[in-house]
Symmetry: C2
Subunit: 138 residues, 2 copies
DNA sequence: GTAACTGCAAAATATTTGCATCCTT
DNA sequence: AAGGATGCAAATATTTTGCAGTTAC
């Protein structure tokens, strides 16, 4: 596990630092999406707020994580388990938000459908976020 | 037009005030979604920032407008032309964001598809946001 | 006249930037 | 050793709250 964390960072040409390892580990342990705030709270050691911002920004740029748009526009981040290249993120799964417990998850096994748009529109990416009750809450 | 604006407000048990009329008018004139910032800028008369916040909040609660989750998590608001009741918003159309000009529109004529989730998940609402190139930019 | 709405001030939050220091390679 | 990452301070930006004055009904 420790090794794989360092490997992910190296693969993305990032130096392996304490905070990057810890934050990436958090994401790996979690199977739900995390908000900036969650990261500050859940990390055993406290990181500087600024470091969290910068680390998330870096991970985003490298395509290690992706953001999930939510109806309440709180920003959630989740690991990219798909094949994301730097810059070009290909996120083809559906996201689920439980209105009861609040967790946000990536439903890797549910793919986004192909949406037919009116003439003249070019689709580049489709985001699907389903709200409802998750397995644990129902 | 003026009349219909007042009517919408009355229908929602809101008193008809200057700022509510002006902000609602802005939405009616526009066929794209607006960010909080757009509203401050585009309104002929300048409203207090706080008034804009409170007005949008009120409109949201009454179901006059709805928010659109965007990949960059900027908050956009658009008129509900569907039948939205207070509290329960039924937003069954697809949203489109142009990566070129940045506009966000409601594609009223494109309905969100039915997404099949794994056993145990209950769907309550589905949000679809498509990014790409709009008609005007292509 | 009363209740609700607005605008100002200010508080609370969130995010960004600069810079000196420390860590990774 | 050199470049990049971190942490602190502080600058900005965003959102919320309290309250007095004003407006809608």
């Amino acid at each position: 596990m420790e090794d794989s964390i360092a490997e992910v960072l190296k693969k993305n040409q990032l130096s392996v630092t304490e905070s990057r390892r810890k934050i990436l580990e958090l994401f790996l342990q979690q199977d739900t999406a995390l908000a900036h705030h969650d990261i500050e709270v859940k990390a055993q050691e406290k990181f500087d707020r600024v470091t969290v911002y910068r680390t998330l920004q870096t991970f985003l740029e490298k395509g290690i994580i992706h953001t999930i748009p939510t109806p309440d526009n709180s920003i959630k981040y989740a690991l990219c388990r798909d094949n994301c290249e730097e810059g070009h993120h290909h996120d083809d799964h559906v996201h689920f938000i439980c209105t009861s417990c609040g967790i946000t998850t990536c439903l890797e096994e549910v793919h986004v459908p192909d949406i037919k748009l009116p003439k003249g529109y070019k689709t580049m990416q489709t985001e699907v976020v389903v709200s409802g009750i998750c397995r644990a809450c129902s």
